[in-house]
Symmetry: C2
Subunit: 220 residues, 2 copies
């Protein structure tokens, strides 16, 4: 009971900061995407491929990890402006961390801001970061039942990306069943089937982002 | 600051309960293994294969999930006594939950108790469940850098299982590098390379469990 009370206070403060971040980003016309997934689902690779395929838009990234700046180094090598948040054990990003990262980013020419959350299918679900869109990444190697096991993530998603479809012949994963589970939780959510290795599906995913970028700031 | 204080209190209470669970299990000569991993690394499959290959020992399982009893159903279908804990959103198991599950298990003939933790590479690391051994499972599909990104899990492991080695030709994963990262964090930890599909490495993993079962209760 004590914990629940504290969590409520923490969440209220988080939501206030998130709302002020969202308003600031709206004023600057920056579309912001909170990407969440289990560890190793391929969030960084998807952002790399997205930047390659959206050359008309300027992308920046805030990436969170418990330890290491590996993801930031990969993204910087692709010429992407990036701030790495190292949480030293914390299991999710919160809006105060995002506020701190935004202070370090030059937002002048940015059209799209990706927030690459900590690899965790549970805790990040409860924390609004001021984003416009929540995207959940699921890798085919993780198994078909993940939407059922981690429903909070999938219920609130604006899009689901099923990554590593190049592994479909080698893993026990049913695309049809996974999509059925996802749509039972979130009936209208778009699901993109992609591979960062073969680049299959990347075009459709980027087209969806561009469509959202065009209708923003009406969106939020 | 407030949060840290509360976490300390929670952890102290957790550790007390864990200690009393460990003593009870020691009296009954039950070797207890806390299995932790990211979502979809294959914990349930490993337990299934372990039971098949350790016919001389009696195994029971406490399995934790945020939602669904899928894992318990799979294990029950293999004839394994199992209690499913559904945490309804909580991101890790704690010792009070284990105490509740133990009250529902007939421990009379049990030699080995697996606790299959929530799929999460961060939060479960801080919670002693009264186990004797902590085993971390890493799937080759998750990428080589996971030990560096989630060091708390790997630092405290008594063994690391690298699962899905049948996918090595299809994923970007280096066994040598992964083992180097693991041993930088935890120099003497045994690492088992296995596949539940081809059954490669299962024998060595089971031999290690049997060795630990024989030296228990000296172990804890």
């Amino acid at each position: 009971m004590e914990i629940i009370t504290l969590n409520r206070k923490v969440l209220e403060k988080n939501d206030e900061t998130a709302q002020s971040i969202r308003e600031m980003l709206r004023t600057r016309k920056i579309l912001t995407i909170n990407m969440m997934s289990a560890p190793g689902s391929g969030k960084t690779s998807i952002i790399e491929k997205t930047v390659e395929n959206m050359s008309g838009s300027s992308v920046a990234v805030i990436t969170g990890d418990v330890q290491t700046a590996n993801d930031a180094e990969r993204l910087t090598a692709c010429g992407i402006p990036v701030v790495q948040l190292i949480t030293c054990g914390a299991c999710h990003l919160d809006s105060t961390m995002i506020q701190g990262a935004l202070d370090k980013l030059d937002l002048t020419a940015v059209d799209v801001l990706f927030i690459e959350n900590i690899g965790n299918l549970i805790c990040p679900a409860g924390f609004d970061l001021g984003e416009n869109l929540r995207v959940i990444v699921l890798s085919t190697a993780e198994g078909t039942d993940k939407p059922l096991k981690y429903p909070a993530m999938f219920e609130k998603a604006d899009a689901v990306v099923i990554n590593k479809i190049d592994l479909l012949e080698n893993v026990n994963f049913s695309l049809e069943e996974a999509k059925r589970f996802i749509h039972e939780l979130n009936p209208a959510v778009p699901v993109f089937e992609i591979s960062c290795t073969s680049e299959k599906g990347i075009e459709q995913w980027c087209a969806w982002l561009l469509k959202n970028l065009k209708k923003y700031p009406v969106l939020a």
